[in-house]
């Protein structure tokens, strides 16, 4: 295998894996922060128990997100050194700011939150978890600023064969960022919401710790409703921006080979044949693609063949059509998962508002448990569409992915590291799922039990030997 293909595979695998954990962290930490806020405001212990229980799941997940994130930063230099040389000036800046502004904040305040229950006042402790949330939020903002530059490069000029930043403000007000950030953040909040509602539904079905899980469900389903609608709307704006800035990605996501009629129909499903450059067995909804693209039921959308000809004129000879099937289907899977989540969130909110959750049909509760997988499917396929749809470019219009690879890292080295990371990540994933299941089975009240008694700690002493002794 050649190093380019291996680097691509490695990038895809490690990024997808990393992005299982990141949105869940962002979503969960918001819910934990809300629960702890309720505890501080209302003073009811039950909210503290909730915050601690979901907090435990958050921490397991956060740990994996953090450690897999370190590789994300390093692999640009390791596998994509030419890319790093070309764009480091522009792309490196948001990464450095992400570390300075967000990572320090997350890591310091998460430490204070975990170890500070006995040492900080309630309000300061609460502030810590909110600061962790703000940290994750800022982290997403800056990493997406970097990603948006790859989708829609702005704020730079080419000097001596390198992209050099000349307008920082343009970089952080990049139109792409303005549509990509809300979409991704809503997706993350939705992930946390559906994981919490799914687990709560499971526990409610089993009639375990009903009060805690009913409350958890109610809080999460509202976040789920707001965020799933937010995802849909922001996705709509993102699609429109795509038509303007990366029409080829849009055409590939739609499987549109030739420029459509006016108004353009939306293809629900089709057999896409990239070799013959045509589709068969299409099911279409008239006018919908026009609406998605321009917010009105008129206007045609350019096809890949025309765009290919245009791109050859602009960028010289080459194949500018991304892997169409992958883009087409990942787009559809994302939309299907997202749509299903909206329906579930609406019905779930309805039940919660009517206080009919416990009387809800088993089918709904089972569906909610199954729905835990939906945000992960949607997040993953969304990113596949975004990143695969940009190919062959890594920086749209300026650098192809092939040109960005490290020239002297051998295929053997990359193969070795790909295998090493895949195995490590597989183990991490398995352990994490196992620990998650354990914590869920043990339930929220397992949290409060002291871990174990040491002979030196007198179990008959004040506080059962766990009083805080200061020296």
């Amino acid at each position: 295998m050649d190093p380019i293909m291996l680097s691509r595979i490695q990038y895809a695998l490690t990024t997808i894996f990393h992005f299982f954990f990141v949105p869940l962290s962002i979503g969960l930490v918001l819910l934990v922060a809300i629960m702890e806020t309720l505890y501080v405001v209302k003073g009811k212990e039950v909210y503290k128990t909730m915050a601690k229980f979901w907090g435990k799941l958050f921490l397991i997940n956060f740990a994996v997100g953090v450690v897999t994130g370190i590789f994300q930063e390093f692999q640009f230099g390791m596998n994509w050194s030419e890319y790093s040389r070309f764009v480091g000036d522009v792309f490196g800046a948001p990464l450095a700011i992400e570390a300075l502004l967000a990572f320090f904040m997350e890591s310091t305040f998460i430490g204070l939150w975990i170890f500070g229950w006995d040492r900080l006042s309630k309000k300061v402790h609460l502030a810590c978890i909110w600061l962790v949330f703000i940290g994750t939020f800022l982290s997403a903002l800056w990493i997406l600023a970097a990603n948006s530059f790859m989708q829609h490069p702005v704020g730079f000029e080419i000097n001596n064969g390198r992209a050099e930043m000349n307008d920082f403000f343009a970089l952080i007000t990049n139109g792409q960022l303005l549509v990509e950030f809300p979409h991704t953040i809503f997706g993350a909040l939705m992930t946390g919401a559906f994981v919490v509602t799914g687990i709560s539904a499971y526990k409610l079905m089993k009639k375990q710790d009903v009060e805690i899980f009913r409350k958890s469900f109610n809080i999460a389903i509202i976040i789920g409703l707001v965020s799933s609608l937010g995802v849909a709307f922001s996705g709509h704006f993102q699609a429109q921006y795509l038509v303007e800035t990366q029409p080829m990605k849009m055409a590939a996501s739609e499987g549109t080979w030739t420029t459509t009629e006016d108004p353009a129909p939306w293809t629900v499903v089709a057999f896409v044949d990239p070799d013959k450059q045509e589709n068969s067995g299409e099911i279409k909804i008239p006018g919908l693609l026009s609406y998605l693209s321009y917010s009105k039921f008129s206007g045609s959308v350019k096809g890949m063949k025309e765009l290919q000809a245009e791109y050859e004129q602009t960028y010289g000879p080459g194949d500018y059509i991304p892997p169409v099937r992958t883009t087409f289907w990942s787009f559809r899977i994302m939309i299907a998962a997202g749509g299903l989540m909206i329906l579930l969130a609406i019905y779930g909110t309805f039940l919660a508002m009517r206080r009919k959750l416990e009387g809800a049909g088993k089918w709904f509760m089972r569906l909610m448990v199954f729905a835990i997988s939906l945000p992960f499917i949607a997040n993953t396929s969304g990113w596949i569409m975004t990143e695969v749809g940009r190919q062959p470019w890594t920086v749209f219009g300026y650098m192809t992915t092939e040109a960005g690879v490290s020239p002297y890292v051998s295929a053997g080295q990359i193969l070795f590291s790909t295998i090493a990371f895949t195995v490590t990540y597989a183990i991490l994933g398995a352990v994490m799922v196992y620990l998650f299941v354990r914590e869920i089975k043990a339930g929220p009240y397992a949290v409060e039990k002291p871990e174990e008694h040491d002979e030196s700690a007198d179990p008959f002493g004040v506080d059962g030997g766990y009083s805080v002794v200061t020296k």
Partner: protein
């Protein structure tokens, strides 16, 4: 006046020095769990002593990496692609170590705990060793060609000089960590940590002397920097001497400060010796990467300087605050966060 690229070299140097000073002790505490933590609870106490900090300490490395990427893209690209396999190991160790702290406590099974404990010890020793090796190669020089590409052979990375460099850093972190552990614990654990640190002082001094002598003969840093490096050597030796003295006096706070000073002086010397180079080419000084030919454009550096100067006071502020919150010793009466 400093130019912006020189300023960023200084900043990256500060980030690395900060990283080794801070994560240095949590590497050391990680290693020490095998040596002085006899029971599960003692090992947990040791881990708890660094529990609130290690993640924040690691961010110093991540920030140094990000700053290299942004301020010196060529340095970042040449170094990271050139050191491909060592970095794979570094990353795997960082990953293993990070989740081990979180995972080990989640089950009470003996084998489960033992597995994660081993990962903590091995990765905590391996990481400073590998960092030591990498920094030693930076001083010694590497085959960097005219295109700024680095294709090192095995012996370019692994040789007596770099191995001694790796061992020096590992031992230094171990002693530094033992002193941190003695600072945050009481009773037996504190005694054991201090005793172990006392025993290791002489080997540490020996290997640092060997490394300094090798550096004199095998690199050009003394020739390039002359008296500046000699001052560092004298300061380093004095700090080490004081560390040994304070350990004997059982004044672990001062001793910890002194081993920290040795770490800071050692890594500061690396950057002083390199400057204005960031990577020395063994194929001729014309191919050296320097702060001038490897850096980003002036605009980018200016933006980053403004951002960094605005944010750093806050970062330092809350990090210091978090150390202040967790300043008290952990004893075995304590409720430990698992």
């Amino acid at each position: 006046m400093l130019s912006l690229s020189e300023l960023w070299f200084l900043l990256i140097a500060v980030l690395f020095v900060g990283f080794f000073f801070l994560e240095g002790f949590d590497f050391g505490v990680g290693m020490s769990t095998a040596m002085i933590g006899k029971t599960d609870r003692e090992r947990r106490t040791l881990i708890n002593s660094i529990g609130p900090f290690w993640d924040g300490n690691e961010v110093w490395l991540i920030t140094a990496g990000g700053a290299m990427f942004a301020a010196f893209p060529h340095w970042y690209a040449t170094l990271f692609s050139g050191f491909y396999l060592p970095l794979v190991v570094v990353l795997l160790a960082l990953i293993g170590r990070g989740v081990a702290f979180e995972f080990r406590s989640k089950m009470r099974h003996e084998r489960w705990r033992k597995t994660w404990d081993i990962i903590i010890v091995v990765s905590s020793a391996l990481l400073p060793f590998l960092f030591g090796v990498v920094f030693a190669t930076l001083m010694k020089g590497l085959p960097i060609d005219a295109q700024m590409q680095l294709r090192p052979g095995f012996l370019d990375i692994v040789n007596p000089y770099t191995v001694v460099g790796g061992l020096s850093v590992t031992l230094l972190c171990l002693v530094h960590g033992l002193l941190f552990a003695s600072l945050r614990t009481v009773g037996d654990l504190r005694e054991r940590a201090l005793n172990m640190a006392k025993k290791l002082m002489l080997p540490l001094a020996a290997i640092l002397v060997i490394y300094a002598v090798m550096t004199y003969f095998m690199t050009d840093v003394f020739a390039v920097r002359g008296w500046a490096l000699w001052i560092m050597v004298v300061l380093g030796a004095a700090s080490l001497g004081l560390a040994a003295y304070f350990v004997r006096q059982k004044r672990e706070a001062w001793a910890f400060g002194m081993t920290g000073a040795v770490i800071a002086i050692a890594f500061a010397s690396v950057f002083i010796g390199l400057f204005p180079r960031v990577m020395v080419s063994s194929m001729g000084s014309a191919f050296d990467l320097t702060v001038y030919n490897a850096s980003s454009g002036a605009y980018s550096l200016k933006v980053m300087t403004i951002v960094a100067c605005t944010l750093l006071p806050f970062v330092l502020g809350y990090q210091i605050w978090s150390y202040y919150i967790f300043r008290k010793r952990l004893n075995d009466q304590h409720h430990l966060e698992y």
